[in-house]
Symmetry: D5
Subunit: 146 residues, 10 copies
C-alpha cells in the first residue's frame, strides 16, 4: 500500500484554502480525525459528505466518486519508520499485553472493536509542555461460542 | 522477546488471592494499566511499589529485586496474532497517517511521547453493547533544531 | 506462538478414550470446531464447559483453570507451511479482494466479524470424491463514523 | 503482486452501468464471487464468458483476450492490512489448527482443495445485526501413498 | 517447525541396523522417498506400515502411535539454507514461471496437485558424472468454476 | 525482480502466431521448458537460437540482442502466491528433507546441480484425471574436500 | 519510503553553486547535519529557513512550501545495505544493550530522546588516519508512572 | 542471537557488590561502555582484564576463559522493540542519509569504522532536563581502489 | 535499491564498442572488477577515471558527474535469487562461522575490512572444467579497546 | 539453524590441547578452513578423518559417528549480525552484480560452484596493517541447454 494520489490533492487544496481540519469538522459535522481518514482514503464518505468536502476545498466534483468508494485500508510499512506513527507501534509492543489483561479482566474474553470505533485527538495545555490526548472508544465484542 | 516467567507467577498469585487489578490500584496507588505493565515486565517498580505488590500477592520477597530492574521492553511478534492486540496494530495501520496529520496541525512537527505517557482503560456502559474507552496522554515533543 | 503443552495432553486423552470431537459436541453442547479451538487454547471455556471436558477426557481437575483462562491467540508461522492450513492462506490471497468486493456491495463499508463468528465443518458425500464444506457466519460490522 | 489495471476499468464500467455482481451472476450464469475473481484476474473466463461480461459492461472487445488468459494469482502483502481481508488471515491464524484437527478426524490425512473449490457469500438478516455467511466447498484430497 | 525428535531416533536405528531406504522399500512395499517422508513426519503411516517399520528398525512398539498420527507438515526456514534443499527453492524461483506457462498450455488453468502426488529419486550412471533423476507425478486439478 | 517487459511481447506474438511451445520445440530443437525459460529471461539463447525464435514469432530482429544477454535470474516473491508455483514451494517444504536423505544415501554428501540440469513436463493421460509428470535431471556434485 | 525527488534537486543545486554544508551552516545559522536532514526531508524548515536555503541554492521559491511541510520520516530498507549507513545499524546491534545498561545506571528507567536531540559530525585529524567524531545529545526522558 | 547466560551472572554479581560501571572503569582502566560490552559478550577481554573483572565481581576464575573468547556479536531482533535501543535504530533511519552526506563531503567515499571505534556516554546536567551525551569516534576508512 | 539506469547505458555502450572489462582495465589502469563496480554505481570514480571511461565508451561527457558521485551502495533483495550471486550468499551461510574461527585464530578479535579491500577474478584452466578463482584481500581491523 | 552442540565440545577440546587449526591441518592433511567447517558441522569427515580428529582432540570415539554424518548446512540469521561474518554479506551486496558481470564475460552464462569449491585464508604481513587474504576456487558450471 502507498499513500493515494488523491491525498496530496486534498492536502494541497486544504492548505491553499487556509482551512484546518477543525474548520472542516464544522463544515461536515464529522470529527477531524475521521475527516483526515477520508483524506488518506482510510474511510469512505457518503455522497453528501464528499460533496461538502469537495466544495469546501474548491475542487472539481470529479473527486466525489473516489471519496465515496470503499478503500483498501492500511498504509505504510510493516513496522512504521516515521517517529510519530512508530510511537503507536511501540505502545502496542510495550502495552499490548497489559491492555489485554485489563480489558479481559473488565469485560471477559473478547476484543475492542476497531470498526465500531471512534478516535479523538485533543491538545491539553500543560505548563511542563502541552500534551496530546487521544481517546479511543470501541465497542467490546465478546467471543461468540457455538 | 517472550513473556517473562515472573508474569505467570504474578498472575497466578493474583488469581489465587482473588484480587483484581482495580484492587491492586487501590493498594499501590498506581493505575491498573501501569500495574499490569509491571506484571509483564514492561515497567519497573520502585522498591516501595514492588514490596507492596509482592505482599499483596502473598509472594516471597525474592521477587522484589526482579520487579525493580529495568526490563528489556516489547513483547510478541512483529505483527501480533492475538486479535485483541492486533486491533491496536490495525488502528496504527489505518489511522496512523490521519493521526499524524491532526497532531501536526495542532502541535507542529514532533511526536506524542510514549515515555512521558499515561494510558487508561475504562468500561463505558452502553445499551447497544458496552464500550472500551482508552485514554492516552503523552507529552508533545517538538523536533529540536540545532 | 507455539502449540501449548496442554494441547497434546488433551489430544492424547481424547485418543485414549476413543472419543471423537463429534462425541464431545454431544457432551458439551458446543460445536466440534469450537471444542477443537479450546483444545488449541484459541477459545476459553466456562467453568462448566471445562469441567465437562476434563471429566469426559478422564483428566485431573487441575486442567480446568487453564482451560478457562483467556488465551493469547494465533498459532503457527506468518505464512503457514502445513498444506491443509496453507490452503486457507491461499484462499485469502486469491479470493480476499473478490470477497471484499462482494461483501461491500451487499453490506457497505465494513467487515465480517471474526469474533461474533461461528465456523462449521461438514462432510459432503460426493461420488466424485467427498467434499469439505465450511460455513462461516460473522456479524457484519459497519464502519462507525464520528 | 499488485491489483491489475484491468480491474479498475471493469469496476468503473460496472459502476457506470449501475450493475451489481448479482446482476452479472444472472447474465453470465456464474456465481458473483467467481465473477469478482475474474474482475481481479484471479480466475480465467472462457471466451464465451468474457464476451458476455465485456458486453454487459459496455467495454470494447479488446478486453476479452486478457480475461481469458491464465493469470498469476495472489494479491496483496504477506499479511493483509485491509481490515476486511485481514479477518480471513486471523481466522486462519486462530482456527487453522482446530480446522485441521476436525477435517483430519472426519476425512483422514489430506487437505481441502482450494482449486476444486467454490465460495459463496450470503447476507443473513438478523435482528441483532445482519450476518455475512460464507460457504466454502472444496474436494477432500487424501495424501497419496506410493 | 523444527525436525521432530522421532526423526533422529528412526535414523539412528536405521543406521545401527545397517538398512538403506531401498531395503525398507522392499519391507514396506512403499517407495523409499515416501518412507523417508514418514521418518521426517511429513507423511502418516497406516498401523500396518508403522508396525512393519518399527519392527524392521528394532524399535519399541511405542513409536507406532506417533507414526500414524497426522503430522503438521513443512520443515525448515522460509528460504532454506541447506544447499541441497535450496536447489529446489532455486528451481522454483528460476523455472516456476516457465513451468506455469507449459503446464497451462498443456492442461488449462489449474495446478499440479502436491497431494495426489508421487516423487521418485533415481541414480543415473553417467561417464561425465552421475546424475540425480527426480520424477514428480501429480494429478492435474483444473480450477472449478461455479 | 519482476517479469521482464519482453516476456509479454514474446507471449503475445506466440499467441498471435497460434504457436505452442511444442511447436517452438520443433523449430528450435530445444525443449519447450527451456524455451519458456528464455521467454521469461531465465535462460540465455545463442545468436542462432534467438534468431530462430524471433523469426518464428514474427518479431523484429531488435529483440535478438536482449535474448542472448545473461539475465538476472529468479522471479516472484520470497514465498510465491500463485497456487501453481506455490505447489513447488510446498514440495520443497514438505519433501525437502526426505529428498536430502535419499539423495545423500545414494550419492554421499553433495547436491543435485540446478545448473547442469534439465527439466521436462509431460501430460500423462489417466482415467481418474490426467497427471502432470515432471522429470528433473541434475548432475550430482559431491562436496570437494581440500 | 524512498528518497524524495526534491533531494536530488537540492543536492545538484548545491553542487552547481559549489557550496558545502558547512557554507550553508553559516548562511542558515543551523548545523550542517540538520541542514542535510532538511535536504532529505527528514526535518522541516521554517519559512525563513526555507527561504534562505532556496535563495542560497539559486532555486525557484516554489520549493519553499515543500521544505516547510512536515515530512514522513525514515528512509531506506529495514536493514540498510549501504556500508556507511549499515555501520550505525551495526553499532545499534553490537552496542545497543551495553548502552542501555550504562544509560539506565546513570539516569534510571527511560530513554534518550531522538526528538529533543542534536547530532554533530566533526573531522578529527589523526596521524594514524583521520577520525569521524559524532556527538549525539538527547534529553533523558524518564518513564512516567501513573 | 539471545543474551548470553553469563550476562545475568555478571550483572547480578555487580549488583550484589554494589558496584557501578564507573567503579569498574577505575578498576580495569577501560571505559564503562566497553566494560558493559564485555558483560554482554560483545567485546573480548584480555586475560588480565578478565581476571580483574572476575575478581572485582567476586566470581570464580572459571568465567575468565569465557570472557576472553571471541564472541559472536549482535543482539536482539532485526528491529529492536526496546524503546531505548529502538531510538538508535530511529536515528539510523532518520539521520542515516544526512550523516552519509556530511561524512562524504568531509572525507570522501568511505565509512566510519565501527571496529576502530570508541563510544562514550556522559550525563549532562541541564535545567530543562538532563541530557544523554553520546560520543562516537571511528576511524575514517576510504574505499580502496585497485 | 534497484540497478541504476546508468548501468544499462554503460553496458550497452561497452557492448557496442566491443570492449571487454579487461580492455577497460588497460585503459583505466584499474582492475576490471573495480570498473564493473563503477558500472553498477557501487564505487565512485575520480574525474580522471570517469573521463577515461566515458571516452572509451564513446558516451557524452554528461555522465562524468554521475560516475564521480558517492553512490548509495548495495543491490538486490535481502536474499539474492540470481544463482550466480546466491552462491556468495551460500558461501557466507555455510562457511561464515568457519571463516570467523580461522581469521580470529590468526589475527585475534576483529574483522576483514570490506572497504580497504580488493577483489580479483581469474579464469583457471582445468582439464576437468575451468575454475573461477576469486581473491579477496582486506585489511585486518582489530577491535579497538577504550 | 543454530550452532550444533558438538561445535563447542570440539572448540573446547582444541583449546585445552593447545592446538591451532594449522596444527590440525598437518595432522589431517586437510586445509584448516575445511577442518573448521567440520567443527561447525558444515562439512562431513570420512571415518579416517573423523578418527584422526577425535584422537588429536583427546575426545571419546563416540563423536566419530556424528562427524561423518551429512549435516544440514547453513548457520545464523538471514542477515548476519556478527560484524566479521556480515562483511561477507556486504561484499555480496556491493560486489555481487560486478562479480556476475566479470564472471559471465570470462566464462559465459553459468555460476561458480560452491560445492566443487575450496576456500583458503592467509595472513599477509603489511607494514600498514596485516591483511586477510581469502582465495576461493570454484568450478565454473555453464547452464545446460536441453
Amino acid at each position: 500500500m502507498s499513500i493515494p494520489n488523491i491525498t496530496e490533492t486534498l492536502l494541497n487544496a486544504k492548505k491553499n484554502k487556509g482551512l484546518s481540519f477543525a474548520d472542516l469538522e464544522k463544515i461536515l459535522g464529522r470529527d477531524e480525525v475521521w475527516i483526515a481518514s477520508v483524506f488518506y482514503r482510510q474511510a469512505s464518505a457518503s455522497d453528501e459528505e464528499a460533496k461538502l468536502l469537495v466544495e469546501a476545498l474548491g475542487l472539481e466534483p470529479i473527486y466525489i466518486q473516489e471519496l465515496t468508494g470503499y478503500p483498501v485500508k492500511g498504509l505504510g510499512p510493516v513496522v512504521p519508520t516515521d517517529p510519530l506513527i512508530y510511537r503507536f507501534y511501540e505502545i502496542m509492543q510495550v502495552y499490548g499485553f497489559p491492555l489485554k489483561e485489563i480489558i479481559q479482566e473488565k469485560f471477559g474474553d473478547g476484543i475492542m472493536s476497531a470498526i465500531d470505533f471512534t478516535l479523538d485527538v485533543e491538545k491539553e495545555a500543560d505548563p511542563k509542555g502541552d500534551r496530546v490526548k487521544i481517546t479511543m472508544s470501541g465497542k467490546f465484542l465478546p467471543y461468540k461460542k457455538w
